[in-house]
């Protein structure tokens, strides 16, 4: 059974969003996503200062076998990239909710309403 945390927002593309302050969030991929992918060997991320647009591709997470596109769950400016994942991409498998990819300053916090809560996400992946 995949782990799902309460208090996070989730996208249909299996990303989680954690609100740190009103308009600052962390983004990562869910336990379900990492287990579907298998051994993560590389995370291809944009740079600090780049803009995310909700629903648009911003990078990829790559397992041994395949590259899987990352779609932005929110829009905003990237204020920090988790550089630890460069040397330790396996953290994504080991601690999917600790191994955040990007810290983002939201353009519009209302966009969060378009995401799923933990209950809705649980239904989403049990279908």
């Amino acid at each position: 059974m995949s782990k799902i945390l309460e208090g996070l927002y989730y996208s249909n593309d299996h990303e989680w969003v954690k609100v740190l302050e009103d308009d600052v969030v962390l983004i990562g991929i869910t336990d379900f996503a990492q287990s579907e992918l298998g051994d993560v060997v590389f995370v291809d991320l944009p740079e600090e200062g780049d803009e995310l647009v909700q629903g648009e591709e911003f990078g990829a997470v790559e397992s041994v076998k395949a590259a899987s596109d990352l779609l932005a769950p929110v829009s905003g400016e990237i204020i920090e990239v988790n550089e630890d994942l460069v040397g330790e991409p396996e953290k994504v498998n080991q601690e999917p909710y600790e191994a955040w990819f990007l810290k983002v300053k939201l353009n519009d916090p209302k966009e969060l309403d378009k995401l799923l809560d933990h209950k809705a996400y649980k239904e989403e992946i049990s279908e």
């Binding site: 060997v41 590389f42 291809d44 041994v64 076998k65 590259a67």
Partner: protein
């Protein structure tokens, strides 16, 4: 499962919680725990694959040797009984029908081991070429199950677990054995770049051997690690480095073609012509200068000009490097040529290199 076939080991795969995929019409395990762990088990210790989906085609009759010589790119007349050769079957235009192992049982009996995805096509091709030869062709694929036990500790492990002594079986040789009153064929062959054996037998004995080996801590390995292992060892995979649109010369497999011998074989004229006049591209090694993964199908560029594509590529588990096999237009096939690979929307710089990926691990 719409018409998907399963191997006799299917139930064992489910018991081991394998992640299953569709491959060549079969429901096969891609991995049991992790591709990386399975890969490393075989590089450093011992692991095994269910390869029961592979095809086995028996050719018997007075003209068998002469006939195989005609359809197979590698030498047959130098083989002794109990020896194996790797090579390809070609179309008249020199492109590859399939790559295969030929087991010489006797002058009048040969076993051909072919790719699962090509069994039907191969059988048709083989039968079509028998005109004028006194041979009989039998597709035995449903009768044989097969496992490949691979890794540096395989010989010791098989002695320990099955009490079969394989120490005098040489590389690319095979012998018949019996185990619990069942006949087996065991060959010292594989598809990983490591020492190891392939075991053929009837369905029930192969299931029994698989279970014994699992109980003796041989790591079950899926198609995922089978591909990462064969790739690092620069072993071609049909549909990638070779296909019915690619010749052995283009694939860099001339070593397995008796092009300089007197013997005539199907496709030879086309290959001679290609070598003389029209070799425009070749499979080469490629490495990226920065962390990224050059995957199958990605385009390769020189400046702004497209010059080829990746046939197989990984972030190598054994070396940690982003490496690939790529089909590249000449003259950009020269080692050291700077190229770039388009990965999503970025151009990642890299260079053409040798294909000895494993030589630099230690």
């Amino acid at each position: 499962m719409e018409n998907l076939k399963v191997t006799p080991l299917y139930e064992e795969h489910l018991k081991l919680n394998a992640k299953m995929v569709d491959f060549a019409g079969f429901h096969m395990p891609i991995s049991y725990t992790s591709i990386k762990d399975e890969h490393e088990a075989i590089r450093n210790n011992v692991g095994m694959f269910d390869v029961s989906h592979m095809g086995e085609i028996l050719v018997i009759g007075k003209d068998s040797e002469k006939y195989i010589e005609f359809i197979f790119t590698n030498k047959v007349n130098e083989l002794k009984n109990g020896e194996i050769n790797y090579g390809m079957m070609l179309n008249k235009n020199g492109t590859v029908v399939d790559d295969l192992l030929v087991y010489k049982i006797s002058d009048e009996s040969f076993l051909l081991v072919v790719n699962a995805s090509n069994i039907a096509k191969d059988y048709t091709h083989i039968v079509e070429q028998t005109n004028g030869f006194d041979v009989l062709v039998k597709n035995m694929s449903e009768d044989y199950a097969e496992i490949a036990v691979q890794g540096p500790k395989t010989e010791v492990k098989i002695k320990e677990a099955l009490d079969i002594d394989l120490s005098d079986l040489k590389f690319f040789n095979f012998k018949e054995y019996t185990f619990n009153d069942h006949d087996l064929i065991i060959s010292r062959t594989g598809y990983t770049g490591e020492d190891g054996f392939e075991i053929y037998g009837d369905h029930s004995i192969i299931v029994e051997i698989w279970k014994i080996l699992v109980d003796n801590n041989v790591t079950p390995c899926g198609l995922g690690s089978r591909d990462t292992l064969r790739f690092e060892a620069n072993l071609p995979l049909y549909g990638h480095e070779i296909s019915d649109e690619i010749t052995p010369i283009e694939a860099g497999l001339k070593y397995f073609v008796k092009i300089d011998s007197e013997v005539d074989f199907l496709g030879k004229d086309a290959l001679l012509d290609q070598i003389e006049n029209s070799l425009t591209r070749r499979v080469v090694g490629l490495e990226l200068n920065k962390q990224a993964i050059p995957r199958e199908g990605y385009k390769v560029f020189k400046n702004d000009k497209e010059i080829g594509y990746i046939t197989t590529g990984y972030l190598s588990i054994s070396t940690g490097k982003p490496i690939a096999l790529a089909m590249i237009n000449r003259p950009f096939t020269k080692k050291g040529t700077e190229v770039s690979v388009q990965i999503r929307n970025k151009m990642i710089p890299g260079f053409i290199r040798n294909k000895k990926f494993l030589k630099e691990t230690k």
